[in-house]
């Protein structure tokens, strides 16, 4: 297109209409009415986008609300973000706090803050170091979870390789921290080829190679080739299929 796209920048408080832009920057408090298609979005203050967002790069360091779908190649949330529709991004990095009312589709999703998704989460690689809450199916080739903060809730997990680990705590501090209650993962069903769990509560675990580590409490385990259980785990029944 020959038409040159303009930059949009809101400093202070203001509102603008949506449309096509090159770079969009909100540094104070800004409101954008309608859909936004642009190269990059940077929100440092507070931003509200009334429609869809389609962009290459999105960085949210303040707080943002997106009313509809959110599509970007790379999404970084350092502050807080609420998306009311589906989110799709090749690379999603959440260091702050994100709440998604729809589903997430991603290639690589990394969470070190807090993530809550009402729908499904789909990714090739999903790495979570903070608490996550997923209302639907969490499906990925590789899922790597380190439990910390509050308990994580995931309704269903379906994956190739799943690793759930407790965060390493120095022995000296451990009694202190356990007094606050163990961080754990609570799930309904977990299915995967290689499953290694720690501190997980689940009703059903199905897999090829299953290893149930310390602190787990599992209803039923169905496994195909390999099954290991730690002494400090409780499993009601384990069946080889």
């Amino acid at each position: 297109m020959a038409e040159e796209k303009k930059n949009l920048s809101i400093l202070g408080s203001g509102s603008a209409s949506g449309g096509c832009y090159e770079d969009v920057k909100i540094s104070g408090s800004g409101k954008i009415q309608g859909d936004l298609i642009c190269n990059s979005v940077t929100i440092n203050g507070s931003g509200l986008i009334g429609g869809d967002v389609k962009a290459a790069d999105v960085v949210i360091s303040g707080s943002a609300v997106i009313e509809k779908r959110f599509i970007a190649e790379s999404i970084t949330v350092n502050g807080s973000c609420k998306a009311k529709g589906d989110v799709s991004g090749e690379r999603i990095q959440i260091s702050g706090r994100a709440k998604v009312l729809g589903a997430i589709h991603s290639e690589r999703c990394t969470v070190s803050g807090i993530l809550s998704v009402d729908g499904d989460l789909e990714a090739e690689e999903f790495v979570a170091e903070g608490p996550v809450k997923i209302g639907g199916l969490c499906s990925a080739e590789r899922i790597d979870m380190t439990l910390s903060g509050m308990a994580s809730h995931i309704k269903e997990i379906g994956c190739g390789i799943l690793t759930v680990r407790r965060r390493f705590v120095p022995a000296l501090l451990e009694p202190l921290l356990t007094a606050f209650g163990r961080k754990k993962l609570i799930a309904d069903t977990i299915e995967g080829d290689h499953i290694a769990l720690e501190d997980t509560e689940a009703k059903v675990v199905r897999g090829n190679h299953v290893s149930i580590g310390a602190g787990c409490s599992i209803g039923r385990v169905y496994y195909k080739s390999e099954y290991k259980k730690d002494d400090k785990a409780t499993v009601r029944s384990a069946v080889k299929e």
Partner: protein, 222 residues
């Protein structure tokens, strides 16, 4: 008739695929979401699949996955794949998709080609329908083909609607990009109204059906 269902674990056992593969294929949309049927069982909730469909799909994925990438496979299985259909003139007539008359008009209008892609097929299919119903004459056929030629590539995935109206003997053909209600003045007569998406479905089914017939004929001969 309700399809026979198969539980997920039985499916994995029969086909020898892993959980990882199944979920990967689901993520890549090789297996439609609607095939995942949840049912309560005594062990809690389990996922079931329509047996015949899923077995066929898994088999064709397994056969093709060494030669095609997953993305190429997804394209092949998606409903959008109609755009890949190309039929020759002979096939078209043999399979009774359109009449010879329609084909003649279409060829008069366009260049003298011998193979037709899905856009052409759809245009002919709509034209055939209108001609057969006796609602359209040959001059008007050109109007129809014109509007379809101009914009048919834009309207596939939308809920667009083709209108054919006439007032005082003057006919107009147009496409509304959405299925909206239109109000005309009293002298206008709406002669026909076709949902494009519905026509696409019908045409696709028609082509698939004739594909199958061809195949079974071939099988019978061999």
């Amino acid at each position: 008739m309700e399809d026979e269902l198969i539980a997920k674990k039985d499916l994995l056992e029969i086909t020898g695929i892993s959980y990882g593969q199944l979920y990967r294929w689901k993520r890549k949309k090789l297996i439609p979401e609607t095939w995942f049927i949840r049912k309560a069982t005594f062990t809690g909730q389990e996922t079931f699949f329509p047996k015949a469909k899923i077995l066929k799909r898994v088999q064709s994925i397994s056969e093709l996955k060494d030669t095609l990438s997953l993305d190429e496979l997804a394209e092949r299985f998606s409903p959008q794949s109609v755009t890949k259909i190309v039929l020759s003139e002979v096939e078209l007539l043999d399979r009774n998709i359109v009449s010879e008359m329609t084909l003649a008009i279409f060829k008069e209008f366009g260049s003298a080609r011998h193979s037709f892609d899905f856009h052409d097929l759809l245009a002919m299919f709509l034209l055939d329908h209108l001609l057969k119903a006796g609602q359209m004459n040959r001059a008007e056929a050109n109007d129809l083909l014109n509007v379809l030629k101009e914009s048919s590539h834009k309207i596939y995935d939308k809920n667009s609607c083709l209108y054919f109206i006439r007032k005082m003997g003057v006919s107009i053909v147009f496409i509304a990009a959405d299925d909206v209600t239109l109000y005309f003045d009293g002298g206008v007569k709406v002669i026909d109204r076709q949902l494009i998406s519905a026509s696409v479905e019908v045409l696709k089914a028609c082509i698939e059906q004739s594909d199958q017939d061809e195949n079974s004929k071939g099988d019978a001969q061999s």
